[in-house]
Amino acid sequence: MPAPITERSSAHRPRAAVPRAPDHTHRGQHPLRLFPAAVHAEWTKLRTLSSTWWLLAAITAATVAAGAAATGALSSEHCPPPGSCDPDQVRTALTGLWIGQAIVAVLGVLMACNEYATGTIHTTLTAIPDRLRVLAAKAVLLAGITTATAVPAVGGSLLAARFILPTRGHKLAHPAISLTDGATARAAIGAVLYLVAIALLSLGLAFLLRDTAGAITTALGLLYVFPLLAGFVNSPTWQDNIRTFGPASAGQSITATHHLDALPIAPWPGLGVLALYAAAALTCGSIALCRRDA
């Protein structure tokens, strides 16, 4: 009768391990109660999904490619007096943010909604019953990887523009793009923060709605509907109002480097509007997470 023996022996094994376990669990802190451990757990979940790496690569590639395409499309043929065209080169170079932000939103939404779709959220909340800690760990990790992706995306865009602009035969009214220029540095740092804020906004929406399709649609709607409407109205007051209160259009004022007085909202306050949206989404998301059954 070999079967019962193996069954018995396998049943014995965990029991033999029991005496060692209390050292770990009963005395002091369980490793997962510590915040860094929670972040580490999230990191393990995230890095073992191949889709994460595809998304991160896509953010950088799409942002740089779209920025390079926009810079390459710059032309001075419609400027009647030569040199009168004064395009904001840095802003143009960062046009790719319009595409990159959509992929960042997908990343942020999937970070929470994937767990709800697969049921992993039960395991996660069993391991770390403090739900706010789960949300905070996810937010910190998401901000970290978004920064790590946004830095090459923004840097690559600016670098590409630096090489492309002279080949466009422009009589540049401004010197070549350089991070030593205060406004350019602000635009570059701001662009990274912009993507981080959008990731957090999406994460908050994801915890609030818990449904992938719903959260993605809401996030993309928030990002794209305001600029759409601003383009459809012709009254300058309306345009300025829409651009001031829309998260994406307000946030992107951080990428402007000249004609700042023509902006509907100044660069840093504009990014602040987006940050408010992100904070509101995260607050609603955490209330929903703490109040509702998982």
Binding site: A70, S75, H78, C79, P87, I99, L110, N234
Partner: protein, 523 residues
């Protein structure tokens, strides 16, 4: 997967059990019914449809509210066929009864200082100088004219919309022009030397009585310059005056009266004439040489905005939830494993996708049409209140062919985009990626085109799926008017159906790819 032919099985059931239900059929009608049941019973999807309709209406409402116009200039005339036109020119004329002809040599056309005396004068390519035969000096009445233009050569034009090109080579003055009347027919000729004449065109203008006014005319529309840099477009319409010099004027036939100058224009309400700040038109005659300086145009008036299209601007917002619905209609089945049941019941996968496309297309067409009807109904009054009213903006009626086309077209557009989303969902099998791709591809070009150079913007508008939005255009543009045609303001350089065709082609290709992938890949 082995296929079992249930109908061909000769063996009786081993248990002797026979289902009391009659055998199901797997026709396409049953598939449609199955897909309709799936769509109808998921409450979230019905809500999404409702949300799409509401989002469309709300966004249309907002964009109508945010659009104002001063109502246009007060020099608008209405032609015999009801077209709103500009009919302002300096006319040095006499009366002609019965048949006859007039001949003149246009010696030169030069720009004249306009409103801004400090700026160099600009000559519009459509400055017109030549001979005209007109029913009377009342604006809007029928006419035929042979003219020289600086940018478009010799033209024969009649009744505002008719335009025939003559020679374009060597357009520089001097040029001989002749206008002949035979009965109701007016014919324009041109010549380089006054001896050899070439016919340019002929027409029977509306409303000419036996006695008409013939003579020389000059008019010059505004020269439009555009400064388009990233994120800002500056359009300057520089009202330019032009001075044309004529000589060798002869008239044959029963001509009465001497040549007398007149300004053809509608009495303007502003004291400074039709163009505030402009010098008034002048004409001088000196020993057979006539010099006419004038501003204005003889052409259809094209409003720079289409109120019907403006009232349907919410469509793009409504597409965002519809994209989600289209993607989910297939990815939800993959996610839940429902697709296994579906393909077991109906192993022909292409037909399943076709049934899904038909059901989804029909439902979203109805939703889109409903949204378009309500949007149009609500925004009409708002836009009229904001200044979009006759005569500049003719009243849009439900029964107008172009309005109906725009409304039904909006339904078709929404259906096509949703089916596109279904195909993308089938190809990607991933809800998040599918929705993001469809939304970005549909919406982003509209946001970005205002900052792109005109060539790149036109390319985007014509070759991406958003070309389908041209179906919402109800204005008819004529080529003989220089207009600022900005893609972001809904101006398309091709007809309404061509754009919808582009979108339909995208849909067809995506669906074909989706069917191919669906049959090839494991579920």
């Amino acid at each position: 997967m082995s296929t079992t032919e249930t109908t061909a099985s000769p063996h009786p059931q081993p248990t002797g059990y026979t289902s009391p239900l009659s055998r199901g059929r797997d026709g396409f009608r049953q598939l449609l019914h199955a897909e309709w049941t799936k769509l109808r019973t998921v409450r979230r999807w019905s809500l999404t449809l409702l949300g799409a309709v509401l989002a469309t209406i709300l966004a249309s409402l907002l964009s109508a509210q945010g659009n104002q116009t001063s109502g246009g200039e007060d020099t608008i005339a209405v032609s015999a066929d009801g077209t709103t036109v500009r009919d302002n020119f300096r006319f040095v004329h006499q009366s002609l009864t019965g048949d006859g002809s007039v001949t003149v040599r246009v010696a030169g056309i030069v720009p004249a200082p306009g409103r801004n005396a400090d700026r160099p004068p600009i000559l519009s390519p459509w400055t017109k100088a030549g001979l005209i035969a007109k029913a009377s000096t009342v604006p809007g009445t029928g006419y035929a004219a042979i003219m020289l233009t600086p940018g478009h050569g010799v033209r024969f034009q009649h009744d505002f919309t008719g335009d025939t090109a003559g020679s374009s080579a060597g357009t520089a003055a001097p040029r001989w022009l002749r206008l002949t009347r035979t009965g109701a027919l007016l014919t324009g000729y041109e010549s380089t030397d006054g001896a050899t004449w070439h016919k340019v065109g002929s027409a029977k203008p509306a409303g000419l009585s036996d006695t008409i006014e013939v003579g020389m005319f000059t008019t010059s529309p505004e020269a439009v310059t555009m400064n388009r840099s990233f994120s800002s477009t500056e359009v300057n319409g520089e009202l330019g005056m032009a001075t044309a010099t004529f000589d060798h004027y002869t008239a044959d036939g029963r001509v009465t009266g001497t040549l007398r100058p007149d300004d053809v224009r509608r009495a303007a309400s502003s004291p400074n004439g039709p163009f505030p700040g402009m010098p008034s038109n002048t004409s001088t005659a000196d020993n057979g040489t006539y010099t006419i300086t004038a501003a204005g145009d003889i052409a259809p008036l094209e409003p720079d905005m289409d109120p019907v299209q403006q009232g349907l601007r919410g469509t793009m917002t409504g597409l965002i939830p519809l994209a989600a619905l289209g993607v989910l209609f297939i990815t939800a089945e993959f996610r839940r494993g429902m697709i296994l049941t579906t393909f077991t019941a109906s192993p022909r996968r292409g037909r399943v996708l076709a049934a899904k496309a038909v059901v989804l297309g029909a439902v979203t067409f109805v939703a889109g049409l409903l949204a378009a009807l309500v949007s149009f109904g609500i925004t009409r009054g708002i836009l009229r209140g904001n200044g979009f009213k006759p005569p500049m903006f003719p009243e849009a009626r439900w029964s107008d062919g172009s309005v109906l086309r725009a409304l039904v077209g909006t339904g078709v557009l929404m259906a096509l985009v949703t089916v596109c989303a279904l195909a993308v969902g089938t190809l990607l099998r991933n809800t998040a990626a599918g929705i993001a791709v469809v939304v970005v591809v549909m919406v982003l070009p509209q946001i970005l085109i205002s900052g792109l150079p005109l060539g790149a913007a036109r390319f985007l508008v014509q070759s991406t799926p958003m070309a389908g939005f041209s179906i919402q255009n109800t204005t008819h543009r004529v080529p003989q008017v220089d207009n600022v045609c900005l893609p972001e303001e809904g101006c398309y350089t091709y007809g309404p159906y061509a754009g919808l065709g582009v979108l339909a082609a995208y849909t067809a290709v995506l669906l074909a790819l989706a069917v191919w992938q669906l049959r090839r890949r494991k579920v």
